[in-house]
């Protein structure tokens, strides 16, 4: 790599079910905050990467181009990247290419999502991710891939619904301390178990909400970062892989593509024993079981062993391996691309000791953010160090 890459600023808007701000306005607010936090102006930015998930949410084509004036991209080298739910962590990976390659010394990375425009429900947009010939005629809903994967995961390792529910309890509880959170709440495992079965084994409180919101970071080369701050957070490892859309042909109990993406990032960051070397992890949690499933793919837990770690409190903020100290998608909210970027922001704040009430107890030096998406086929991973 030509340049070591640092994160030097972060910003985000409130996450809510429906926001008044337009997609451009949300992008502007998050981007302006990231620039302010870095002490930079738009003229200091050399390139821009934006991320936003399905155009079908907004009913607008060319969302990257539409967002341009809110993301600060006018007249600059600009890319929009997209890998479904994996987009939020793929956006800073795109920025990393720009800076690590030596092409640019600064790059703005902006992720925005408004899911609220689509009626009767944003879920409807996901109908079109399924195979149009063989799957859509069966009355598909996005929830199926989750409920089918969750059931297989439970079957393979003998996992109980209650163990999985403990993740929703933790994350919604953590989100109470997040100033942008949509669904922070003190709930119990019983609350989750008694919530409406929407697609069994998935129940209402196992699921993150649809949301509107935006989040942004500023990347800088080592040379520029050291002039801006004595506390850069280094983006030392990035990894991403995709599996086939033939999702019914693979082992649903274990996300191999996440493992591949993780090892790519770990290798780059010089990490050999992830469970020992990663201090905090913002693992992708659109559903509570996904946090556990992904911890295993990320090598932060053995196969089938993540549920016990959650039950034992290992993944709590004061635990040995805090997972989703932000409150995650389950608690802060899930504006798809922005949710993944929120995780990058959280690790940035945690590693700088600036997470306020959310600050983890341990001295965190190395953190991980991960996102996942499309037809259960995308892994995007970022390793960060203070």
């Amino acid at each position: 790599m030509k340049n070591r890459v640092a994160i030097v600023g972060a910003g985000m808007t409130l996450f809510r079910r429906r926001m008044l701000e337009s997609p451009k306005e949300l992008s502007f607010e998050a981007t302006r905050m990231a620039l302010d936090s870095a002490g930079l102006e738009l003229k200091d930015i050399e390139s821009v990467v934006s991320g936003s998930a399905p155009d079908a949410f907004d009913g607008m084509h060319m969302k990257g181009e539409y967002l341009l004036d809110g993301t600060g991209g006018i007249g600059k080298p600009n890319q929009r990247v997209y890998v479904g739910g994996g987009t939020g962590v793929f956006t800073p990976i795109g920025g990393w290419w720009n800076v690590a390659s030596g092409m640019y010394d600064t790059c703005l990375c902006v992720a925005e999502e408004k899911m609220s425009p689509l009626h009767p429900h944003p879920q409807y947009a996901f109908w079109s991710i399924f195979d149009q010939i063989l799957e859509r005629p069966l009355g598909t809903t996005l929830l199926w891939i989750f409920s089918l994967e969750m059931r297989r995961y439970m079957h393979k390792y003998g996992i109980k619904e209650e163990e999985i529910a403990s993740v929703a309890v933790k994350n919604k509880g953590n989100a109470v301390d997040h100033p942008c959170a949509q669904l922070g709440a003190k709930i119990t495992v019983e609350d989750v178990m008694n919530s409406e079965p929407i697609c069994w084994p998935v129940k209402r409180l196992d699921v993150s909400p649809p949301s509107d919101g935006a989040a942004a970071i500023v990347l800088a080369s080592e040379k520029v970062a050291k002039k801006l701050t004595d506390q850069p957070v280094w983006l030392d490892g990035v990894g991403w892989t995709l599996d086939s859309t033939h999702w019914t042909n693979r082992d649903l109990a274990y996300p191999e593509y996440v493992e591949k993406a993780a090892w790519m990032a770990y290798k780059m960051a010089g990490i050999k024993k992830p469970r020992k070397e990663i201090d905090i992890a913002e693992v992708y949690d659109p559903f509570d079981y996904k946090e556990l499933h992904h911890m295993e793919g990320l090598q932060l837990a053995g196969k089938g062993e993540a549920p016990q770690m959650a039950v034992d409190g290992v993944t709590q903020r004061d635990g040995d391996l805090p997972v989703c100290p932000s409150g995650g998608l389950l608690g802060v909210g899930n504006p798809i691309a922005a949710a993944g970027m929120m995780k990058i922001c959280e690790v940035f704040w945690q590693l700088r000791g600036e997470a306020g009430k959310r600050q983890v107890k341990k001295d965190a030096r190395t953190g991980l953010a991960q996102a996942w998406g499309d037809l259960m086929q995308v892994g995007t991973v970022a390793v960060m160090r203070s």
Binding site: G11, M12, M19, L20, E21, A38, H155, V202, Q231
Partner: protein, 173 residues
């Protein structure tokens, strides 16, 4: 001063459900009603034609020896053309299942849809397809249960995945 401590508040204005009901915000409504006609492709056209005849067909790759369903004309692992058509059985095993109380647009259903990944007999182990289950109590469904396709009558079949109505547990008749 640490940079992030410059943040004193987080921007954004929420529109609440009450605002929506009370008409307190202005919006513009648009309905998009396109129509598409998808060519099924070389492999899936044959698969659908076989379904119309009440049979399930797969493709075999002579290099990795996998029998692939849904069939494809190329092996994505060996990255070479697949070699031959192979009829497989209309029986299989439930790999995983779910009881769906919501439809495509997330509206609640009166009768839940039973959905499963069924690993088909005669294909390489783990080669499943998505389909519905029927003639079974939701509480009686199990992973690893043996199932068999229930076909529409020949005159009803159209060359569609729905030519199989659903899969039912073997021994349920």
């Amino acid at each position: 001063m640490k940079m992030s401590q410059k943040i004193t508040s987080y921007p954004g204005h929420e529109i609440t459900p009450e605002d929506v009901k009370g008409g307190k915000y202005l919006d513009v409504v648009y309905k998009f009603e396109p129509k598409y006609s998808w060519a099924a492709g070389v492999a899936i056209s044959r698969f659908l034609a076989e379904l119309k005849e009440g049979r399930i067909i797969a493709r075999k790759c002579m290099n990795c020896k996998r029998i692939l369903v849904p069939p494809r004309m190329y092996c994505e692992q060996c990255f070479r053309p697949t070699d031959e058509w192979v009829h497989i059985k209309d029986t299989g095993t439930i790999n995983t299942y779910s009881i769906s109380h919501v439809g495509t647009d997330a509206r609640r259903l009166k009768t839940p849809i039973l959905v499963a990944v069924v690993d088909l007999d005669g294909a390489t182990p783990g080669m499943g397809i998505l389909h519905n289950l029927g003639e079974v109590e939701p509480s009686k469904i199990k992973v690893d249960m043996k199932v068999k396709a229930v076909w529409k009558s020949p005159s009803e079949r159209q060359g569609s995945i729905t030519d199989i109505r659903y899969f039912k547990p073997i021994g349920a008749e």
